[in-house]
Symmetry: C2
Subunit: 464 residues, 2 copies
């Protein structure tokens, strides 16, 4: 089996095999700098103190950046020949150690395979390594943009979004990335001695979503787009917590408001937005709302009526010129801003029950005091309902207490996707891979070389 | 008070006063043909056998078509001077007698005031008399379209949509026309000896929505638009009623499908779509789904999986060339197609309870058999939920039985907007005008000259 053990002899043998591989493919763009190899073995796993402890020592033996698919094919064939673990990497912006090799081997960084292949009828096809921000720049002049993207869009890749992302900005209109109709198809390379390239259409293609690159190497993605709008970014403040929630929810629900983002932050969270501090009083709650320019007046009326104020507004064009978008305060950028100021913080990923959001938030607040700091993100779910998800900050003390807080949320009926675990099963999959996902892995990675250890149930599954 | 009585002497006096008015404004475009005066005194009220009986004898004494706002001002001043009832008319496509003068007087047809005034930042401002289809033709080259419109868009005017419409096509994405963010402002002329022109912004402007032109004369509307898409029109058929409902609801709910229309028809309703007959087996249920071209493949997968078939598809471009759009089978065009074949039919307007749609539909079916023929339209409500509304056909026998059927629906928890009444109070307003609506009427029509009788509570209100 593919190097599950980490003992010294195995590691030495593996390093030797990597040497053989690197020497056999001297024309490739191997990373020569050990510090960079270490850096490119890690992602934003350090958002979790638990993952920091578990993963900080991990490193690839080598990092390579294929310049084209033919180079990629040679690397994959070589890794299979040498029986080496292979870990795929996009922009390295994941938070769950999804790009971290658990057992060394080769990290393949996909960022040089970054072409937009075509764009027609509101659909784009691009290589997996294209950065989302760069893709957006290519789409906008044609009147299109991504339906959803993470707050890390400047660095994150399309393949990374598919393999490890949820959606994010834009999900208030288009739902999560997994909602049928957004990802239309993918092209996948098998991890075999003679790698094959296979086209999959949705829904089959979606078996490969959010699997951290463990069931085949995504080469291309075909995605349906959203019409680009002239967006206004609003930073809105409120004295009153209820008014803030009411406005954010009303905006999120309103079918007559064309929107890209609706987020809500407690004062204890908004205080970490340093550059926005001049616009907010210390005790104020804050919302970030990104709306079509045509809805500006309606938002103003709604906010004024609720006793809030639009503390800052800029167009998406101004945001671009200033290199300062309010989108980069939302989703996990909220956590990033907070962690820059206070290393003792971490976070959870939560989903409140439709219709019981307020009650559940109050129950959590009662039981946790200032240990859990509310940050809400409104989205449409796969049934088209406007639901409330969260990335609350958590004051970290011990792992035991962190687990208790997760349990406490779940006891209140709040769903938690645990960002403090690194296997596929434990994150969003309720402890088990679906048979279809495992079948996809068997088909595209029969040797189990893709980041061994990431799919906990793989060994059992192969032997069964 | 403004002519509530209809006795002979009053009518003669009124006709004399109209003569005086017409003679005092000879330069205006008065309708000379009595048959045309009769025709332009009526609308699609005949969809209701009850309204047919109650309204078919109604007629204006004169019909005039102002060519500009100055002409309109002269007409209004003249009517006030002669104390004549004034009824506003757009394309005459309403179904509730909303353009029918209950007490004679002057009908003002607004269709010559039809300019698009400006279009910027996704917002258009146009005169009330512009036809929706014509407006759409002006918007499309700039990348925009109406967020919602009735199936009568070829004939219906923008002012008519605001004064008597609900939304319709497009409401599956943008909700009803009344959803905050769509109508931004209106310009209204008062009915006074010296008519004033007043700009109202929303939400205040919305006091004037759906009041059949009884609280001021709408001159201009400012509306937020939707980005235009390359639409595909699909006619989908199913052997199985449950599969048909499931697919229509799933499409309606799916946030990853960009859509403009989702309607569902029982075989007993779809049979009236003569031109679509070659595409449908007699026993098949039918859905009409209008989706962005980028979602074509996703819809196919969904339909195939459910055992349905896409019986006919055309692009919106093909629909335009063929002068045959599937949109013109939806909303009240369904009723129109049916009435062309069977004069004994009429219809209801229903709203099913969110989450209980199927149960309520089954209860109605059990209790009414083939007396009520299901036609469903999916929309987003003002809370952003995808809900199921209906325009079921009804086999009409007596008014008493029609009332029983309405009661039966309501007893099952189904909301009914009664299309068999002609006053504002009895249609969608649960029997009473809001104080704010009455205040708006007092402000813009102090003499109560706008179609007297249409607002049942007016006299009382003025005297109180």
């Amino acid at each position: 089996m593919a190097g599950a053990a980490g003992d010294k002899a195995t590691v030495t043998q593996r390093a030797d095999r990597v040497d053989v591989l690197v020497k056999s493919l001297p024309e490739l763009d191997w990373c020569a700098n050990p510090a960079e190899i270490k850096r490119k073995s890690l992602d934003y796993y350090w958002f979790s103190p638990v993952l920091r402890r578990e993963l900080e020592a991990k490193s690839a033996d080598a990092v390579v950046r294929p310049r084209n698919i033919d180079e990629l094919r040679r690397i994959v064939a070589g890794c299979v020949g040498e029986n080496l673990p292979v870990t795929l990497r996009g922009g390295g912006t994941g938070n769950y150690g999804q790009a971290i090799p658990l057992d060394g081997g080769v990290v393949i960084e996909m960022t040089a395979c970054d072409r937009l292949l075509w764009l027609k009828h509101g659909v784009a096809r691009a290589q997996a390594g294209i950065k989302l921000g760069a893709l957006g720049e290519l789409l906008a002049p044609q009147g299109w943009e991504l339906r959803c993207m993470p707050s890390t869009y400047r660095m994150a890749t399309l393949g990374g979004l598919f393999c490890g992302g949820f959606g994010g900005i834009g999900s208030i209109t288009y739902g999560p990335l997994s909602a049928p109709g957004t990802v239309l198809g993918i092209q996948v390379m098998t991890v075999e001695a003679e790698p094959r390239v296979i086209e999959l259409r949705s829904p089959e293609a979606m078996q490969h979503a959010h699997t951290y690159g463990t069931n085949g190497i995504i080469l291309e993605l075909e995605i349906a787009l959203a019409p680009v709008h002239e967006w206004d970014e609003h930073f809105i403040t409120f004295d009153d917590a209820d008014a803030a929630f009411n406005v954010a929810q009303a905006v999120a629900q309103a079918p007559g408001l064309i929107k890209r983002e609706t987020a809500l932050f407690a004062p204890s969270v908004a205080k970490y937005f340093k550059k926005l501090a001049p616009h907010r009083e210390a005790a104020e709650h804050a919302a970030i709302v990104v709306l079509a320019a045509s809805n500006r007046e309606t938002l103003e009326a709604l906010v004024n009526q609720a006793g809030g104020r639009i503390a800052f507004r800029q167009s998406s064009e101004e945001a671009r010129t200033r290199q300062h978008s309010l989108l980069e305060y939302c989703w996990n950028h909220t956590t990033l801003h907070a962690l820059r100021s206070d290393k003792s913080l971490t976070y959870l990923q939560t989903t409140y029950e439709y219709g019981r959001e307020r009650e559940q938030l109050a129950a959590i607040a009662r039981q946790t005091g200032d240990e859990v700091l509310p940050h809400l993100e409104f989205i449409r779910d796969e049934q088209g309902r406007v639901v409330c998800s969260g990335l609350p900050l958590v004051r970290y003390t011990t792992e035991k207490r962190l687990r208790e807080l997760i349990t406490l949320h779940r006891e209140c009926g709040v769903g938690v996707k645990d960002p403090h675990v690194y296997t596929l099963e434990d994150g969003t999959r309720h402890g088990a891979m679906s048979p279809a996902s495992l079948a996809a892995k068997r088909r595209f990675d029969p040797g189990g070389l893709l980041n061994p250890g990431k799919v906990r149930s793989w060994v059992t599954s192969k032997e069964s």
